[in-house]
């Protein structure tokens, strides 16, 4: 059985949207099915997705009702197949962390939270990864200002004293 057959037999209409681009299969799911679908991908012996390639956040402000998105790329070394899973999120919706299934999602989730403000519950330490701890805001959102003032005031204040 192919990945598509297994997934559709198990979840059916809960897979909201299916696209295939250059043999890469993508499913869109609802946020409430997130944990169940990914647990099945990991635990099912016929799928055996043993590696989480990447977990990415995304911000699409033109989608008013669900501006945020998380994309997960899964790889199975046993069978050599791949799968992408997308979940569209309204503002403030949280997801269950995947760190217990794939430890590699740890930093990816930290980055998704830091850059887009997508919160993952039961994450071991959801701290900022790439910016400083006192940073405010989520810089990869489309409404974040492109030109920042961080570093600027220090430079202008002290320029004459150096």
């Amino acid at each position: 059985m192919s990945v598509a057959e297994i997934m559709e037999a198990r979840f059916g209409s809960r897979l909201l949207e299916t696209t295939t681009f250059r043999d890469d299969l993508t499913y869109s799911i609802a946020p409430d099915d997130w944990r169940e679908v990914l647990e099945f991908c990991k635990e099912s012996p016929d799928l055996a997705f043993d590696m989480l390639d990447c977990l990415i956040g995304d911000h699409l402000p033109e989608r008013m009702e669900a501006p945020l998105q998380v994309v997960v790329h899964l790889v199975s070394h046993t069978y050599g197949h791949r799968l992408r899973i997308k979940v569209a999120l309204p503002e403030g919706k949280t997801l269950r962390s995947l760190t217990d299934l794939w430890p590699s999602s740890n930093w990816d989730e930290r980055e998704a939270w830091e850059m887009y403000g997508i919160y993952f519950t039961r994450h071991p330490h959801l701290r900022r990864l790439l910016t400083t701890d006192d940073f405010e805001g989520h810089p990869m959102r489309k409404d974040f200002p492109l030109q920042g003032t961080i570093g600027g005031p220090i430079r202008t204040k002290l320029k004459g004293k150096i």
């Binding site: 961080i150 430079r155 002290l158 150096i162």
Partner: protein, 213 residues
Amino acid sequence: MSGLVFPNFDGAPSVSKAQMLSGEALRNASDQDVLATMGGAVRLPGGIALPVQIERVLGFGRSFSYWPLLFGLACCAIEMMALGGSRFDMSRFGMEAMRASPRQADGMIVAGWCTTKMAPRVVRLYEQIPDPKWVLAMGSCAISGNIWDTYGVVQGVDSLIPVDVYVPGCPPRPEALWQGLEMIREKIKKSSHAYDGLRRIPARDALELEGAE
């Protein structure tokens, strides 16, 4: 011996003048007299005074062994590596030994943009380099932030640490960095800007300002 050229130090007394103070005269002379004969004193932190002449001889030696910190922040570091490689060959000037430990280095080449996350590390590395030390800011990003006027990039490393020489470019050619290092060598020879322990570190100033507010 005719091929040897000794450097002509500005204001250094001639050999005959220095020899005037010898024998009985030297034993009787006060410390001030000796210092004046040797071109005046250079004050060091801690109250030690060195005659200018000795300091300049030391500077002459130092200028041929400027060892930068092995430290690259971004793409400018590639050009820095090219300068260290065989084509441009920094080792002709005694600069090939890039030290991986700040405690063995004579200064740093800040090659590339510095993020706010990296800024405390840059300041710490600078502070760990023993005096005297010279800093070269390489490339537009290290000088001013370049196009990265964004949330994460420090707008010029001179807001963090004192910078001696700026080398503009995006990235600068290895020749440009070479010229910048030559300018640093000139500074070392003159011992100008040598005792950075007496200077203010901008990042520390900013922290003090923040604390005062």
